[in-house]
């Protein structure tokens, strides 16, 4: 079976300026990948390459989705395989949650037909998985930050894609909602078998979620491997040019990481 996401020597430059260099990794279906690194490391750019959202920049190297080159898919075909949860803070469309979710069925509708039974089922399931059914009739701009993020997650799920790309899904949320969203991601990964690629600034997220981690710094790949390896310390030190202290969670026994005082 070919990997869900595969890239080899993937590079990307924007008006001559390289922002990603020789990224090489492979993810099986159902994998959980956390992408970490300092600001400007190229984390979001990496996601956008797989959405073909890179504007006028130029990508080099090999990028495959389910064994086929990225370029061989039409945008619509790609949307059936990969869904995206953008970074919070973008202008919200003035729609209700239900209307917003309907837009996610675009890759399946040809022309301006109404929703099919299959579409409805996918929408209901997406709402149920994210616990958003009771908020379906609310407008997006009346939701709280946490609810809004869940609405975006529901919309991505409604797209029915097996791969989910998330750009800092919990960064603008309070601790309770951030924990809720993180748990939701893990559950979706485990129970629905959805392949996750999550960009995050929370270094405890990969340690908690497990799976694999990709560490970037200034466009270069510093590390790709099991998330537990981060506990070694030298990887994070190299990435952030900073020292960290590792602790053991008294209840769960999981490793926690704290940035040291400079």
């Amino acid at each position: 079976m070919s990997a869900a996401i595969f890239c080899e020597n993937l590079g990307f430059s924007f008006s001559g300026e390289p922002c990603l260099k020789t990224i090489t990794f492979s993810l099986e279906k159902g994998a959980y990948l956390s992408i970490i690194g300092p600001n400007g490391a190229g984390k979001s750019t990496l996601l956008k390459i797989f959405l073909r959202l890179h504007g006028t920049g130029h990508a080099r190297g090999l990028a495959r989705v389910h064994g086929c080159p990225l370029a061989s898919y039409s945008q619509r075909e790609l949307a059936r395989l990969i869904a995206y949860v953008p970074q919070a803070g973008d202008r919200l469309p003035p729609l209700t949650v239900a209307e917003f979710l309907q837009l996610s069925r675009y890759p399946y509708a040809f022309g301006a037909k109404g929703l099919s039974a299959e579409d409805r089922e996918a929408l209901d399931k997406a709402l149920a998985h994210t616990d958003m059914t009771r908020l379906a009739a609310r407008r997006l701009d009346t939701l709280s930050g946490g609810e809004r993020q869940k609405a975006f997650l529901a919309a991505a799920l409604a797209q029915g894609a097996g791969i989910l790309l998330l750009d800092e899904p919990a960064s603008s949320l309070d601790p309770k909602h951030a924990a809720e969203v993180s748990l939701l991601l893990k559950t979706l990964n485990r129970e629905q078998g959805i392949t996750m690629l999550t960009v995050t600034h929370d270094l405890n997220h990969p340690l908690d979620a497990g799976g694999q981690t990709l560490v970037l710094r200034r466009g270069e790949q510093i590390f790709f491997g099991p998330s537990d390896m981060l506990a070694r310390g030298d990887i994070l030190e190299a990435a952030f040019n900073h020292t960290f202290t590792f602790l053991r969670h008294p209840a769960t026994g999981k490793t926690l990481v704290l940035a040291d005082q400079p």
Partner: protein
């Protein structure tokens, strides 16, 4: 007043149909519907030869401007994006005024020449806006709007130059036409206009899911499977051709393209499958009404229709701006 969605639609449709059906009977003199039954009566002649084609032209022009305005607003997620602010109208106006200035050697083309010239002008301005935006990287809305404003100024000054260069007769003709007027309507051009507006509106209607998604943002649209660049280029060309067709016939008539989609959106919501027919009908009816005012307010003199739409449009523009400031954003 709370109306259901269907009630709103029925109300809008009935009001507009009533207005459009009645408009050609009104004018300097009111024509009785019964006089149409007598063939050959002077009133029937006026009705069929003058009033009806003019009402149809007004309706089609308004519908075309409304729909193209709707497309630009959705694409740029900005209610101030209109055929005018994007420079398409002034490009078309430039094309047409060049045609008026040099029409003598081009008479072979007949009336279709002004249509062709306006289309070329509109597409030229569109191309320039596109190239400027692309050169600045990406498809940034603010860059595109700014480029539109610049192109608008550029072509407006070119029009002024052409006018300056013309003899008194041509100059006056261009000036009248620039104010926007349906007075000098050629019936032969009506079929061209009808074809372009109806075909354009149908094409755009087919793209309503794409428009819905583009309203939610380029990034989101692309991640949901919209080929953003392709969709935008198609929409831009279709909308520009519609504007070119209207401008070649009635001159650059302002504000319809900004007001009608905005009103429909406030009233009926965002789904373009509903919004497009509503904008088509409301835009058409609005311009029919303005044309009626143009014909009757100072009869027998005729006010250029562009002056009327601008008189109604400018305060509306201001209102949009203040509304936007309260919420901090435009949509």
């Amino acid at each position: 007043m709370h109306l259901t969605f269907t009630q709103k639609k029925v109300l809008l449709t009935t009001g507009c149909v009533l207005l459009v059906v009645c408009a050609p009977f009104w004018g300097m003199t009111v024509i009785s519907p019964f006089s149409l039954l007598e063939s050959g009566s002077p009133e029937a002649e006026v009705f069929w030869r003058l009033r009806l084609p003019r009402a149809v032209a007004a309706f089609l022009s308004g519908a075309g401007l409304g729909v193209s305005g709707m497309v630009f607003q959705a694409m740029f997620r900005n209610p101030l994006a209109t055929p005018f602010t994007l420079g398409v109208s002034s490009g078309a106006a430039f094309g047409a005024s060049v045609y008026f200035r040099f029409s003598a050697p081009l008479l072979l083309l007949g009336g279709a020449g002004s249509l062709g010239a306006a289309l070329c002008g509109g597409l030229l301005s569109m191309l320039m806006v596109y190239l400027i935006t692309r050169a600045r990287g990406g498809f940034s809305t603010s860059v595109m709007l700014l480029a539109g404003v610049i192109i608008n100024f550029f072509f407006s000054s070119l029009v002024a130059f052409v006018q300056f260069w013309s003899n008194a007769n041509d100059s006056l003709r261009i000036m009248h036409w620039l104010m926007g007027s349906l007075a000098g309507l050629e019936i032969a051009r009506l079929a061209d206009l009808a074809f372009i507006i109806v075909a354009g509106a149908l094409l755009i209607f087919r793209l309503s899911p794409e428009l819905d998604l583009l309203t939610a943002g380029d990034e989101l649209a692309a991640s949901r499977g919209v080929a953003v660049r392709q969709a935008k280029v198609t929409l831009f060309i279709v909308a520009s051709v519609m504007v070119g067709a209207v401008v070649s016939l009635g001159g650059p008539i302002g504000f319809v393209g900004m007001m009608t989609p905005h009103i429909c959106r406030l009233w009926l919501g965002w789904a373009h499958r509903q919004l497009l027919p509503a904008t088509f009908v409301l835009g058409g009816s609005f311009l029919t009404l303005c044309d009626l005012l143009a014909r009757t307010a100072l009869a027998p003199a005729e006010i250029p229709i562009g002056i009327i739409t601008a008189l109604i449009g400018a305060p509306f523009f201001l209102w949009t701006l203040f509304r936007a400031n309260q919420k901090g954003e435009l949509f």
